[in-house]
């Protein structure tokens, strides 16, 4: 099944985008990147810490995975814009996963600041992939602002609650499709079936971190997620059977032997 995710004109060989947060070691990140088969992974920008062992960017570069810096930790549009500019210098990419959260407890996006930041970054030439809530109206506004994708949450970051409101995701997908903007389900994935379900709803990709990096066996869970995203995409394209209230036999009702 040759069927690729394309963002801002760039084709990616996998529909699974990996977050690198939460992994216990660089070794685990390396295993996870390999097992997931991802072509794009996120990083955060922080002060250099001499204590950190190994270079994350070296691990990512060695695997040939494209890097997507985020603006995690930013609370205002201004902070997010500065962080994106830093990332552009650091990683020589104008792609950015835009996060502007309202508080530490829910880590939910602040719709007003997020929209402001998106408009400023698009104007500054960035390829903006905003992490948003599952409000179809906000997703539309972001799309109209020139974002390269919309990345609604399934449920709050790190909760593993899956997709709380599939109806909203379907509304977002329908509208993004009209605009030709890919939808990436970002945040809330807990296990493989959640990722498959996201793809079955018509999402173009899935972004996850904790579900893999904090699993008991991260590399194996990365393998699971890769298979799940593939499964969900194939099922979406294959056209599932309708749900029926009543049973339908899968064996002939005629021609029983008579004794």
């Amino acid at each position: 099944m040759a069927d690729q995710l394309t963002i801002a004109g760039v084709s990616l060989s996998s529909r699974l985008i990996m977050g690198t947060g939460g992994a216990p070691s660089m070794q685990v990140i390396d295993e996870v990147l390999e097992a997931s088969g991802t072509a794009l992974c996120t990083v955060a920008m922080r002060r250099h810490d001499a204590a950190t062992a190994g270079s994350l960017i070296d691990v990512i570069d060695k695997r040939g995975v494209r890097v997507l810096p985020n603006t995690a930790g930013c609370r205002t549009a201004a902070e997010a814009v500065r962080t994106a500019q830093l990332a552009r210098e650091a990683l020589e990419t104008d792609w950015v996963k835009l996060e502007v959260v309202a508080d530490e407890r829910t880590l939910l996006p602040d719709p007003v600041e997020l929209l402001d930041a998106a408009q400023l970054l698009v104007a500054d030439g960035f390829t903006v992939l905003p992490y948003t809530n599952d409000d179809p109206v906000l997703a539309r506004r972001l799309q109209q602002s020139g974002c390269a994708a919309v990345m609604p949450l399934g449920s709050p970051i790190g909760t593993g609650l899956g997709i709380s409101n599939p109806h909203n995701i379907e509304l977002i997908v329908a509208e993004a499709a009209e605009g030709g903007v890919p939808v990436i389900l970002d945040a809330g994935i807990g296990t493989a079936s959640d990722a498959a379900f996201a793809m079955e709803l018509g999402c173009d990709g899935v972004l996850l971190a904790s579900a893999v990096t904090r699993a008991q066996r991260p590399a194996l869970m990365a393998e699971a997620m890769a298979a799940a995203v593939h499964a969900g995409r194939a099922a979406y394209l294959a056209g599932r059977i309708p749900r029926r209230r009543h049973a339908q036999a899968s064996s002939p009702t005629e021609g029983m032997a008579t004794f």
């Binding site: 977050g19 690198t20 947060g21 939460g22 992994a23 990140i29 996120t42 990083v43 955060a44 920008m45 922080r46 002060r47 250099h48 810490d49 001499a50 950190t52 270079s55 994350l56 960017i57 070296d58 570069d61 890097v67 810096p69 985020n70 995690a72 500065r82 500019q85 830093l86 990332a87 210098e89 650091a90 990683l91 020589e92 970051i157 945040a187 971190a209 904790s210």
Partner: protein, 66 residues
């Protein structure tokens, strides 16, 4: 020369360039960015940019993140 590097008072040789500072700390410039006295310094300017006494320098790198 004395600067503030990532919030900590730090001794630095005179005439140190940003590129020199970064390579000294990181062993390379890949994944690094710098803010001097509140402004992001473009990568292209690092070779010429000489850090001055008392400046506030933030040395930023890519770390694990969601």
């Amino acid at each position: 020369m004395r600067i503030e590097l990532n919030g900590a008072p730090t001794e630095l040789a005179d005439d140190t360039t940003l590129v020199g500072l970064i390579e000294d700390r990181l062993g390379g410039t890949r994944g690094a960015a710098v803010v001097v006295d509140g402004s992001v310094v473009p990568r292209s300017a690092w070779p010429q940019f000489r850090v001055a006494d008392g400046q506030r320098v933030e040395l930023i790198t890519a770390v694990q993140g969601g």
